[in-house]
Symmetry: C2
Subunit: 230 residues, 2 copies
DNA sequence: CGTTCGTCAAGAGCGGTGCTCTCGTTTTTT
DNA sequence: AAAAAACGAGAGCACCGCTCTTGACGAACG
């Protein structure tokens, strides 16, 4: 049954993949706004309406590109972290930071799709949430591991009690971690992506040249904010 | 001579202003991608081509919207800081943070225009640079003031020497401040806008509810990173 | 006062977009 | 072999940014 279907479904899968490949290339060169179904069809030698046999709308094509992007970034971060000695927590932190930044700098338009301004009129479907947390999951696991190993100095501050109920969704990412460390983790998280946003979106143009060096210094500061001893 | 011209130029200035007002409203509801010259013209009862008498292209209209946005945000930050007792530096820091966040939350699409993904195909002209630094200028002055007043504890770390040459453009924003504090200021700067980016662009949806409270806690941590005693 | 000149709104039109519908053809299923 | 489903092609709709031309109007000058 599958074998009989495969004849048609195989070429369908192949064409679907070719569409996303071309679309991803257009995305990389033109940006999200420049993604055109007609241009994709033109490049494939098809008629524009034929694309709709594979993707019911432009937004659906965008959705698969977004999911692919989340997975690519998440996988890059996972592999970078996995290549580290797991008990060297400061090194894991810096490695994760560089993995995020490297991927973002290498794929600025795809990164913009994930962490930039939302595409107007586009509503991210629920399918994306599974892939979207892959990168931050690695981050949470690092903090959780470091806390469990006793490498994180317990901060002197204590977050306000009204924040306790807010931490529910985040506790799954950082199990076993006290709230003070948890919020410092969130701060480091936003600091990391805030920096990458600034770099990718051009806020450092004509201001900072050797961005990698400054980034490294800034992320080292963030590590000490978490309480990760250098 | 000016008086005789004024008859014509006054209605021209008024129409120009009406165009930007309508465009800003469309921007607020539809986002940057949904900004349509034809829609603006339709709402004004004009024909689309008439708009081009006032703005030679869509990008030019976008440019004035961006400049207006920078000025609006910058002015909001300036006024918030000016309303503070100037020698209460921790309070000034928190006030500035809230001013940025409040403005961004109130005008998400305009904020996205300033600090989100660059509009595809749009190249910001040099006119924008003057207005673009208003907010960060306030931030730099605060840090400079606090350092001069001795409120900032000199950090124990010393940034790598290779960063010294990178700090040139930033030293104008924070005159008289040692490099270690300067880079901590940059880190706090990116942490602030990184947080606001995450909130405005929806990364905290279904994760953090009372974002103002968490934001305040996070910015307090950033203040202590700068060395601003609470 | 009348003429000239610059500014203006309007309209038609070009090439582009996302998307829909229909129509034969081909492939799969019954 | 017949019925059903999937497919590519084409025409067409409404929209977009932008350009060009046309005719009307007001201001400045002779």
């Amino acid at each position: 049954m599958t074998a009989s279907r495969t004849a048609r479904e195989r070429v369908r899968a192949e064409l679907t993949r070719e569409i996303t490949d071309i679309a991803r290339r257009q995305l990389a060169t033109e940006g999200a706004g420049g993604l055109s179904l007609r241009a994709v069809a033109r490049e494939m030698g098809m008629v524009s309406s034929a694309i709709y046999r594979y993707f019911p709308s432009r937004d659906d094509l965008l959705t698969t590109l977004i999911i692919d992007g989340y997975n690519a970034l998440g996988e890059a971060v996972e592999r970078a972290d996995a290549a580290c000695p797991q008990d060297d927590f400061p090194r894991r932190w810096m490695t994760i930071c560089h993995a995020v930044r490297d991927w973002a700098v290498a794929h600025p338009h795809e990164y913009a799709l994930l962490y930039g301004s939302p595409v107007p009129g586009y509503q991210a479907p629920q399918d994306t949430v599974a892939a979207r947390v892959r990168d931050v999951t690695v981050l949470g696991r690092l903090i959780s591991d470091a806390w469990r190993a006793g490498t994180i100095r317990p901060p002197a501050d204590s977050p306000a009690e009204e924040l306790t109920s807010e931490a529910a969704a985040l506790r799954d990412l950082m199990p076993g971690v006290p709230d003070s460390v948890l919020w410092r983790g969130v701060s480091a998280w936003t600091a990391l992506y805030g920096w990458v946003n600034f770099e990718v979106f051009g806020q450092f143009n004509n201001t900072i040249e050797d961005r990698r060096a400054v980034f490294e210094h800034s992320m080292r500061l963030a590590a000490s904010t978490i309480g990760l001893a250098q």
